[in-house]
């Protein structure tokens, strides 16, 4: 079987992590199994549902479609890295205050997708937000509260930036 083992170095949530993994091991599995960052969820393992989205070098990517070895040397942010010093980020707070989650399984992928998106587009329109999360499946909320939350987060972040 595929036993080629690679040494991998990643900066994950501001911490340098080194580990070895088989070539075939996905980034998602490494984050979850090797680094114990189980906030990244697997909903389909074929790149459709978006639950496993993490931020690699500033871009939101599907960690189920990337081998860990491909991410070698990258900077990765997972849902665990969004809060600062244990305080929820404005985006996370906006999700809570807009009731933008129910079961919470899609939430890490929604948050990472939205976090990367808002950095690219800090003052999006409603339809731009809808488009940004159109590759993330949520079965509970019907999305509307998630869109509300991301728009609310954009406002909160702008206010925070103004201060």
């Amino acid at each position: 079987m595929m036993e080629t083992v690679h040494k991998i170095k990643l900066t994950v949530n501001d911490t340098l992590r080194e580990f070895t993994a088989e070539a075939r091991m996905t980034l998602a599995d490494c984050l979850r199994e090797k680094l114990d960052l189980t906030g990244t969820h697997l909903g389909c393992e074929h790149g459709v549902c978006g639950a496993c989205t993490v931020i690699v070098d500033g871009k939101s990517i599907r960690s189920c479609l990337m081998f860990a070895v491909q991410a070698n040397g990258s900077t990765v942010t997972t849902v665990e890295g969004l809060a600062e010093n244990g305080i929820l980020s404005p985006l996370q707070e906006a999700f809570r205050d807009n009731y933008a989650l129910q079961c919470g399984f899609c939430t890490p992928g929604m948050l990472t997708t939205a976090d990367a998106f808002l950095k690219e587009n800090p003052s999006p329109s409603r339809s731009e937000v809808e488009s940004a999360i159109s590759g993330n499946i949520c079965r509970c909320t019907g999305y509307i509260s998630i869109v509300d939350a991301i728009l609310d987060a954009a406002t909160r972040l702008a206010e925070k930036g103004d201060k």
Binding site: M1, E22, R24, M25, R32, D36, L37, T38, G39, T40, H41, L42, G43, C44, E45, H46, V48, C49, A51, T78, V79, E80, L82, A83, L88, Q92, F95, R96, D97, Y99, L101, Q102, C103, G104, F105, C106, T107, P108, L111, V129, E130, S131, I133, S134, G135, N136, I137, C138, R139, C140, T141, G142, Y143, I144, S145, I146, V147
Partner: protein, 762 residues
């Protein structure tokens, strides 16, 4: 009372952990020495198994065990939990295929290995020889009985029955208007975003079977698992984790609930099984898949006189725990909230070579509402009447309620619709949706899109099943724990129960921790289904909290050596004219007496159900060139008696609507004529996304509190989904009325609509 949480849209206490990636779903749990399990599933819809060669798989480094039916002793049958009609006992599923497979995805063999990568490698090396048999993929093939799926039964009809009330022959003989139609609701399912998963720890010495990842009906499942593994109930523990969505399908006894413990017992280690998405789409219960032939009788002015029909339910290859719920509820809810004195329905449960069917949010209601509400619109069109006026004329009025609907499910007690104002809920909807404007603009073309506003009414039962219990206890550090037998599948149960407990104990909600579901928490529990948590666990929490207050007063009386009637409970403490004892002080005092400050509450609705009801409206725009249906606006009114947390109720309604739009326009488990599932990935099985979201206005009505529980709750989990196909079907039909297209089959996909438009020369 200082604290008041019931009725407030407080934010959820679950959210902090779920937002920061600290939720603990089943795949997040790691136990020392844990192995992984993968399942070899049938690639055939119908075949004999001639030989299973496990030798190569066993040789893979890291493989601990491979087993199939041949390696197991007497296999249990998966029991019926609901709607256990006579005849079903012949079609129960075993946890693993014995000699024959009957649907694509049926478990044939299990591999246990050091990790999942290795387990899946080994699956590829299993070699199974089959003799393929003709697949039965339609109810007509099932009825014909030409090929049999369970040969020993001699038929593919699991059971059938007829239910009725009034005299429909008379109604039809004397009707000025009758019409008959055939409606098809598509096979689809819950498809929660988290696939299923379990971890079993089987210690045969103790003995103890601990199963993590359980949810929904843990106490029922424990009873049957203990039977299956010849253990006492207390030797089986079902532990609930965070759950990534249930919608009716998660937490039932599936084959894997037996196979994972078997694997753990065989290898002597904890074993984890996590379903992949392809497995999930072929192994978790499907739902809907109902064909209804329905005929209505009315006067020439549109007064409904009678309804009769046939419900054909495609049950898939076996009858699982949900028994006949889906077809039987479709039949029961066919007449809906209308005054229809004569009703009769023949219900048939048919076995096919497809994944077994179970409940999915609004089981039977979604289907029944689609058929009946389409029929009413067809009648309105035939008789040149306004669809809204016809409904108002025929809806039951407040003075006609409560109304006994009769025994429309064999073996169920007579059901009774409780009080309410159905025409009022519809009228409110019509105002919100600006119906009067749209009723004269149906079919209007704007930018190549035909517009239609469709409406539909519904009634929905809630809070069925066994009693629910809760224990409230105070720790000496002042924290308060609510334990309930009900489960959380992500709907906010922790928040809702904390709101009730905080109100009744008059304390800050932040002090409360809610623990739910696990069988280790308390002696019994009913579980979570049929929109019952707020009604059942909510009232159990209320009773436990009230009892705890009394207990606090008794303890304070002991402490102060005074009669209890000198004392009052207020603001989280017991007081006399001068002194105060807080709950934590009383808990500490109880501890000195080797007691705890805690109380148990049990709520039993004695099988009397509360019915939520309301109406839906959809404004649809159909692209005439592509056949794509876009829902521009969606409205619903839903009477739920009393909203525990209006924001969470809103979330249930909106989430339900969008899920229902999926079931109406997208979600479809498609099988080919060989019984192959063609929609085994999210590239093929389409779900709603954030593209083309409608504007949704969900109005919660609290005008008719339930009289069956003191807090007035009715279930609020399913009203958002149950009438979506009905309202959208009517909207599309009204939009396309000039083209004379039959809207009788779901889902309403672009290819179907385009094909119909082409056929009528467009």
């Amino acid at each position: 009372m200082k604290h008041s949480y019931i009725g407030e849209a407080i934010t959820r206490i679950e959210d902090e952990r779920l937002l920061s990636g600290k939720g603990k779903y089943i795949d997040d749990l790691k136990l020392p020495g844990m192995a992984a399990m993968a399942i070899f599933r049938s690639p055939h819809a119908h075949a004999y198994i001639n030989n299973i060669d496990i030798s190569q798989a066993l040789e893979v480094k890291g493989v601990l065990d491979v087993f199939c039916a041949d390696h197991l002793d007497a296999l249990p049958s998966i029991p019926l939990r609901l709607a256990p009609f006579p005849g079903f006992e012949r079609y129960l599923q075993k946890p693993i295929a014995v000699n024959k497979v009957r649907y694509v995805g049926e478990p044939i063999a299990v591999v246990v290995a050091e990790n999942r990568y290795i387990a899946e490698d080994a699956l590829d090396l299993l070699s199974v020889e089959f003799t393929a048999l003709p697949a039965i993929t339609t109810v007509d093939q099932a009825i014909s009985g030409k090929n049999l799926i369970h040969e020993e039964t001699g038929e593919n009809i699991a059971t059938h029955y007829t239910v009725s009330r009034g005299n429909s022959d008379y109604a039809f003989a004397n009707a000025g208007y009758t019409r008959k139609e055939r409606f098809v609701t598509n096979r689809h399912g819950a498809v929660p975003l988290e696939t299923r998963g379990l971890i079993a720890e089987f210690d045969p010495v103790k003995p103890l079977l601990r199963l993590h990842g359980a949810t929904k009906v843990n106490f029922f499942n424990r009873r049957h698992l203990s039977d299956a593994f010849r253990l006492k109930e207390e030797e089986v523990e079902l532990i609930e984790t965070d759950v990534g969505g249930g919608f009716g399908a998660r937490g039932e006894l599936y084959p894997e609930e037996y196979l994972v413990p078997m694997a753990s017992r065989r290898v002597g280690r904890p074993v984890k099984w996590i379903e992949d998405r392809r497995e999930n789409l072929s192994a978790m219960n499907h739902s809907r898949d109902i064909i209804v032939e329905i005929e209505i009788a009315a006067t020439k002015t549109g007064k409904l006189l009678g309804m009769r029909g046939t419900v054909l339910g495609d049950m898939g290859a076996y009858v699982r725990t949900n028994g006949g719920v889906v077809p039987s509820k479709a039949a029961q809810f066919l007449p809906g909230p209308y005054r229809i004195e004569a009703f009769s329905c023949d219900v048939q449960f048919l076995i096919t070579n497809k994944t077994p069917v179970g409940t999915y949010r609004g089981p039977g209601r979604f289907e029944a509402n689609f058929c009946r509400e389409r029929m009413i619109d067809l009648m309105a069109a035939d008789l040149d009447l306004d669809p809204a006026a016809v409904r108002i004329e025929n809806l039951m009025t407040p003075s006609e309620l409560p109304y006994r609907i009769g025994e429309l499910v064999p073996g169920d007690p007579d059901a009774t619709f409780d009080e309410g104002d159905h025409p009022g809920a519809l009228k409110r909807l019509l105002e919100e949706a600006d119906y009067d404007k749209w009723k004269n603009r149906q079919g209007e073309i704007i930018d190549g899109h035909a517009y239609g506003l469709g409406i539909a009414c519904f009634i929905e039962s809630s809070a069925a099943g066994p009693p629910e219990s809760a224990v409230v206890s105070v720790a000496p550090n002042g924290s308060i724990e609510v334990k309930t037998g009900a489960s959380s599948v992500g709907q906010g149960t922790e928040t809702g129960l904390a709101q009730i407990c905080a109100d009744y104990l008059d304390i800050d909600i932040k002090r409360i921790i809610v623990r739910h579901g696990s069988t280790t928490l308390l002696p019994s529990g009913g579980g979570t289904f049929h929109s019952r948590n707020t009604v059942m666990a909510g009232n159990a929490t209320r009773i436990a909290s009230e009892t705890l207050k009394q207990r606090a007063i008794e303890l304070a009386a002991l402490r102060w050596n005074c009669p209890t009637n000198d004392l009052i409970y207020i603001n989280g403490s017991v007081q006399n004219t001068t002194d105060v004892l807080s709950l934590e002080e009383l808990a500490a005092f109880a501890a000195t007496r080797h007691e705890t400050l805690s109380a148990t509450g049990t709520f039993d609705n004695e099988k009397k159900l509360s019915y939520s009801y309301g109406a839906h409206a959809a404004l649809a725009a159909i692209d005439l060139e592509t056949g794509v249906v876009v829902i521009k606006k969606y409205f619903l009114t839903e009477e739920i008696g009393r909203a525990l947390n209006p924001a969470l109720v809103q979330g249930q309604a909106v989430g339900g609507v969008v899920q229902g739009l999926g079931g109406t326009l997208l979600d479809h488990m498609i099988y080919d004529e060989n019984g192959q599932l063609l929609t085994g990935s999210f590239a093929d099985y389409l779900l709603p996304t954030s593209s083309n979201l409608p504007e949704i206005t969900a109005i919660t009505l609290e005008e008719s509190p339930s009289k069956l529980n003191p807090m007035g709750f009715k279930g609020a989990g399913e009203g958002g989904i149950v009438a979506v196909a009905a309202a959208v079907g009517n909207a599309v039909a009204l939009a396309l009325k000039p083209y004379n297209i039959a809207i009788t089959e779901l889902p309403l996909t672009p290819d179907r609509l385009r094909a119909s438009l082409r056929k009528t020369g467009n």
